[in-house]
């Protein structure tokens, strides 16, 4: 955990004509030392996303969709290129930024919604969801109230709020995961198949939430197994098979 600094909270208050993120010539490969081989994931990726825009990543299995999301989040280190994030503190290249800066940006500007919950033993669902707020300095009671509202929004039954999610079904765990991942305001959301394993009600709740965030100016990049789930939100598609970006007619 990194403690608070003077950095301002994420907001859509930056100039609306400034892209949230600009990617240039991004390349990623994996060196597999035990095999003496290199696995190329992608190269020459470039795009820019304005506030409130939604970019859908498409391509066949293994095209590098999730790898690109993880590289943007800096869980993977790119070998070349730039990931410029326009922050209130200026332009930061996520491809090269110091680890502590990336950690701060993850807290304040960039969210990553995965398809799996990282449930820790002995931590109740409501505490897990409230944790990002607590780490951001919000009082315990307030954080808990917001967390409970989020759990209710995604349809987690009240009797499960104080239980440990490690014992929940996959679908219930994913609802907790969404509640936690979306609890802090962000300017950029990376979505890695967040609707997988969700029932219709939770899927609709997620789409409602994403639409509201989009209206607030949050930029999103997502991989969806069934893009129809978010059809109304998509502004552009990037096909990783041919690296072509196309705008989606509304």
């Amino acid at each position: 955990m990194i403690v608070q600094t003077a950095m301002p909270a994420a907001s859509a208050s930056l100039a609306p004509d400034l892209p949230v993120i600009e990617v240039e010539g991004l390349a990623k490969h994996f060196d597999m030392h035990h095999l003496g081989q290199r696995l190329d994931a992608f190269s020459g990726i470039g795009f820019r996303i304005m506030p409130g825009q939604f970019l859908l990543l498409t391509g066949h299995n293994g095209a590098g969709k999730s790898t690109l999301l993880r590289t943007l989040y800096r869980s993977y280190l790119p070998q070349a290129g730039h990931v410029w994030l326009n922050t209130a503190e200026g332009r930061i290249d996520l491809a090269r930024a110091a680890d502590v800066d990336v950690a701060l940006l993850r807290r304040r500007e960039i969210g990553f919604v995965t398809q799996f919950l990282n449930a820790r033993p002995r931590v109740p669902a409501e505490d897990l969801v409230a944790e990002p707020l607590r780490l951001a300095g919000r009082p315990a009671a307030e954080a808990l109230a917001v967390a409970r509202a989020a759990l209710a929004e995604f349809g987690v039954k009240r009797e499960l709020w104080a239980a440990y999610p490690s014992t929940f079904s996959g679908g219930e765990q994913q609802k907790v995961n969404l509640a936690r991942a979306l609890i802090l305001p962000q300017r950029l959301l990376l979505l890695d198949e967040p609707t997988a394993s969700l029932d219709a009600g939770a899927r609709a709740a997620l789409v409602r939430r994403l639409a509201a965030l989009k209206a607030q100016g949050v930029a999103m990049i997502g991989v969806f197994h069934h893009p129809g789930d978010v059809a109304g939100l998509i502004d552009a598609e990037l096909n990783l098979d041919n690296k072509e970006t196309s705008n989606v007619a509304k």
Binding site: M1, V3, A6, M7, H29, Y76, D99, D101, R122
Partner: protein, 275 residues
Amino acid sequence: MTLYPMDAPAQGPTRDLPRLMSAAPILSMTGINRRFGTVVALQDVSATVYPGEVLGIVGESGSGKSTLLRMMNLEDSPDSGDYRLAIPGSAGNLFDLDRYARRMLCARHIGIVYQNPHLGLLMENSSSGNVAERLLIAGERRFSVLRSRAREALDASEFPLERMDARPVELSGGMQQRVQLAKAIALEPALLLLDEPTTGLDVSVQALVLDTLKRLQRDRAITMVLVSHDLGVIRTMADRVMVMRKGRVVEEGLADQIFQDPQHPYTQALVHAKL
């Protein structure tokens, strides 16, 4: 994705200096070298830890990780190197301090939990007495204050208070670690050092101790350096990870990057060996 023969050994991409992190590091170590006879224990090791962070240090036995932690606790001095802590009244290289000054600084500002409780506790004294000893060294003499602050620290470490006067020798391994932890945090240290704090404990007890540490981190934003050869422990606790081998730092990065996209051949072998 396409496979190619590897053309060059992997070098992690260079990273910029911090620009957004406005706080100064709590701990800065640079160019630490230490030899024991002909054995190189630490070679040009540098480390930086920011306020509220948990830095994990991993590596095989003999990689130098515990030697480095002992340096951080001023128990040993390097052949060369510089060590600074951002604490009130401290300036200059801490390795230049004499024994008394080191002892006072450690008592006031650094807490440590050892794998072996015998190193950290007086096993025949009461648990509360062990915690109070730390406060005594720091100058507290009022019995009621000693008692109440020991109680508070034991409570924060989730130690059952009805047993606060039991001797550590009568306690289980998990409880002994909680007494060590209470002693370490009694003075709200700037830095908490953890040397394999859960090694040798049952899995369920290990989870409880980790949960306590996580809670302390969340509620008090204590800056921690955690040494462990258990990658699961490091993954649960650390924000950033430093990988050591043969006395050198071979790789460092955000914890998720080290585990998901390790760059160095040794880190890859280490991560892939995890069950």
